[in-house]
C-alpha cells in the first residue's frame, strides 16, 4: 500500500503494509538509519522520533498513523550538530557506544520543548523510558540541564 510520509521536511512515497512500524520504514525503506531498533516493544526508547513534536516509539507506531504529520528523526535536528541538545551532548561527552543516543536525544528535545527548564524529577519522568546499557545517565542528565541553558541563551 502506498503512503506519502513527511520526514525531516521532505516527502517520501513508500509502498509497505499499513501496519509496518514507522521504525522499519525509516530505516529500511527510506534509509534513515540514525533511528535505532532496540527492543521492538517500546521498552528501550532507542527508536524515539517525533511526530508533530511529540516523542513516540517508532517501533510500535504503524506507518499509516504517521501519514499527514511531520515526522522528525535524529537526522532532522540540524545540519551541523548545532542544535542545543546536540551541543550539550558533545560538551558533556554523553555518548559512549552511542547506539541509544539518537533516542535519548529525541526524547530530551521533546522534553525541553514542553518543559524548557526541567528539574531532575522532570528528567527522570521523561527519560526513564530510554535505556542506556553503557550507563551514561549522569552525563545525559547534565547535558539536558546544559541544553536548557543553551536554548535560553
Amino acid at each position: 500500500m502506498a503512503f506519502r510520509l513527511n520526514v525531516n521536511g521532505a516527502a517520501y512515497d513508500v509502498d509497505v503494509e499499513p501496519e509496518t512500524p514507522l521504525l522499519w520504514v525509516l530505516r529500511d525503506t527510506i534509509g534513515l538509519t540514525g533511528t535505532k531498533f532496540g527492543c521492538g516493544i517500546a521498552q528501550c526508547g532507542a527508536c524515539t522520533v517525533h511526530i508533530d513534536g511529540q516523542a513516540v516509539r517508532s517501533c510500535v507506531t504503524s506507518v499509516d498513523s504517521a501519514v499527514g504529520y511531520e515526522v522528525t528523526t535524529i537526522e532532522g535536528l540540524s545540519e551541523d550538530n548545532s542544535h542545543p541538545v546536540q551541543r550539550a551532548w558533545i560538551e558533556h561527552t554523553a555518548p559512549q557506544c552511542g547506539y541509544c543516543q539518537s533516542g535519548q536525544i529525541m526524547a530530551a528535545v521533546a522534553l525541553l520543548m514542553e518543559t524548557p527548564n526541567p528539574s531532575d524529577s522532570d528528567i527522570d519522568a521523561a527519560m526513564a523510558g530510554n535505556l542506556c546499557r553503557c550507563g551514561t545517565y549522569q552525563r545525559i542528565r547534565r547535558a539536558i540541564h546544559r541544553a536548557a541553558e543553551l536554548s535560553q541563551a
Partner: protein, 731 residues
Amino acid sequence: MTLIDTGISRRTLIRSALGVGGGMMLGFHIPGVEAAVVAPRPWTVPTDGVEINAWLTIDADGAVTIRVPHTEQGQGALTAVSMMVAEELDVPWESVHAVFADMNRHVNDGREYIVTTTHGSQLVRMQHPHIMRAGASARERLKQAAAEAWGIDRSEVTARQGTLAAGDRSGAYAEFATAAAGVTLDREPEIRAPGQWWLLGTEVARLDVPVKVNGGAHYAIDTRLDGMVYAAVKNCPVPWGHLVGYDAEAAKDRPGVVAVVEFRAEEGRTGPNHLQDAIAVVADSWYRAKTALDLITIEWDFGPEGEVSDETQAAEARRLWEETGEVSHEEGGDTLDVIASSDRVVSAEYHRPYETHARMEPINATVSVTDERVEVWSPTQDQTTALEIVADQLGRDRRDVHVNTVFIGGAFGGDGGGNTAVTRQAAVISEQLGRPAKVIWTREEDISQDKQRPPHYTRLAAALGEDGLPEAFFSRAAWFTYQGASRHGPATADYSIGTMPYRVANRRHERHNVAAHIPTTTHRAPGANQNGFIIEQFVDEMALAGGWDPLEWRIEMTRDLEPWQRVLAKLKEVAGFTTDLPRGEGVGVAVVEDHGSYCGACATVSVSRGGELRIEKIVLVMNSGYIINPLNCAEQMEGAACWELSHALYGGLRLEGGRFTNLNFDSYNLMRIDQMPEVETHFALSEDGWWGGVAEPGGPPTPAAVANAIFFATGKRVRSTPMMEHDLSWS
C-alpha cells in the same frame, strides 16, 4: 559489488572543532558511511597522505591520520590509540584524524598491528608500548629524513608539534614525509616515560562523540547494500536442541518473502559461534521477514536439556557443596580443620544467576558473498575473528574476506554479538541466494541465544581469632559453564575470592566447574563482578562478627599492599564512610582488584520502612597505576558501576525448561535514569611502574558497597541477586 548511495552524505565526514576542558581544540574526522565503512578499501582514506608506517599517514597540509586497529565500543579506543601515537609523533592534537585500520591487510600482511582484539580493559595497559613505539618510530624517521636533507646528524634535529628544526632551519613534518617513509632506523626508539608526556594524562574528549549525536555513526546493523536481502531467525529456544519439523506454508506467499532457510548444526562443530538448528525467513525487508517468520510453526526436540532449570542447577550446586572441588588456591595449614574446631565461625551462602549482555544493538551480521570477494559487517570486538568465522563457514581463502570495522552498539565482553551463529547464518544466506544478506536477531533471540555470564553458587566460611580477624578462610563455588570447559570458567569461578588480598593464615578455595548446555562467556569484569558482590559482603560479615569497623578491617588486612592502601586511604578521606547512622540510612564500602586495577566504592543509601531502596550516591576511587585520559576513565567508571548495578539490583535471567523466559526489557530489567545515582570518581594512582585497566574495575565493588549499605540501613544481608526481589522492609 555495487554500493548504493545512501542519500545521507551530508552527515558523513563531519569536521568540527569543539572546546574541551583546558581549552584544547580538537579536530576530528571519523569515518562515516562512505569513508571507512562501505568504501571497499578503507585504508586508502584519506588518499593524499603519505604512509610513514601502518599506523599513520601525513597529508600535505599536515593532517595526521591515525589508523586504529581496535574496535570502538564507546570505551574510547579511537581516542586512546590516537593519543598514544600523537604523543610520540609529537603533533598538535587538532591535526589528528582517526580512522579504522584495515583488518584484511593486517591478517594477510604480517600482522603489523600486533594485537587487534579489544577486550579485557587491556588496550592501554598492555598495548601501549607497541602503539607508542609506532609513533616514536615515525618521529625518528622524520628526523632522519630532515637530517639527511640538511646534511647533519639526526641527534641535532628536534621534532615538536609537527615541526622539524635544527638551528635556524625548520620544516613541517609533511615536507619530509615521503623521504621518511623510506628511512630504516638502525635501532627503534624507546617510548616516552610518564614524566615526559605532554598529551597523555590530560583530559581529552573522545573523538567519536560528535558523530554519535546526529545518527551518523555507522553500526553493523545500519549496513545497506544494493540488492540486499534481510533475514529474521528463529533459533531453538533451548541451545543445541534439534529441529524436528516445521510448516512454512503460511509464510511463503507473504509479501516480499524470498526464501525460507533451514539451518542445521554440523557434526562435531559445537563451538559457541557454530551453526545450530534454526529457521530463517529471508525477505526484501526485515519487518516482512520477521512477520512471515512468526507464521511458521516449528517443532523442536529439546532433549534432556529441556529439563534444566534454575531449580535443578541450585540442587546440583547444593549437592556439590558437600563434595571436595578443584583447589584453586591454598595456603597455611588445614583450613577446614581450623574452621571445624573453632567456636567463632562465620558462614554464608551466596548466589548469582545467569546474566546477558543485552547490548543495545541487537545481535546482527551483514555478509556479501561474491566469487571474487566476501564483505562482512559485524558487531565484533575482534574483526579478525569475524574474518576467520566467515572464511571457515564458506571455505574461502581468508585473503578474500574483508571485515569492515564499524562502531559497535555496546560490547561488554563475549567478543561482541558477532561471535555467535549469526555471522555464519548471514554468510550462508548470502552465498545461497547470491545477494548481500543482513540477519538481525530480535531482542528475544538476542537474549535467548547470546553467550551468557555463568551462574554460580558459593559457600563461604571463616574462623575468627582472638583479635576478631579471620585465621582461616574457606570458599567452595559451583559454576555452570558451557561444556564445563569454557576458557572463562575455571579462571573466573572464584576470581576475587581466591585472589583476595586479605592476609589470612589458613586459606583454601575450591571450585566445581559444571558442564551446562547454555553457552557462556566473558561479561564486563568477568568473575570479579559476580564475586566482588560476594567477597566484599562476606568481608563485612566477618568484620562485624569480629567487632571491627568494615573500612578499618580492610585497611588492617591489606597493611603491606601499597595499591590497596592508597585506595582505602583515599576512600576514607573523600567518601564519608560511617556506621553511625539511624535505621533506614546506610553507607557501605567495598574494594576489588580487577584487570590489574584496584577500585574502591562507597555507597550511600536510604531504605524506607516499607523497603523502598534509594541509592543516594556512589563514590569510586581508582588506582590503575597510570591513566592517559582522566575524562575517558571517569566515563568508564561511571558506566561500569551502572553496568553491575543493573545485574545486582535487577537483571537475572530465569532458566526454565532448558530455556530463558525473560527475553526483553519488560522482564529483563536494567538500570534506568531515575534509578541511577550520581557516581563521583576519584583517582589514587600509584604511578610506580605498573598499569591497570580502567573500563571494567568500576563495576565489581559497587553492588557490594550498596549491599553493605543496605545491611546498615535495614539489618538485612542480601546474599543473592536480583536484590530488588528481596524484601528490604524493616521496623
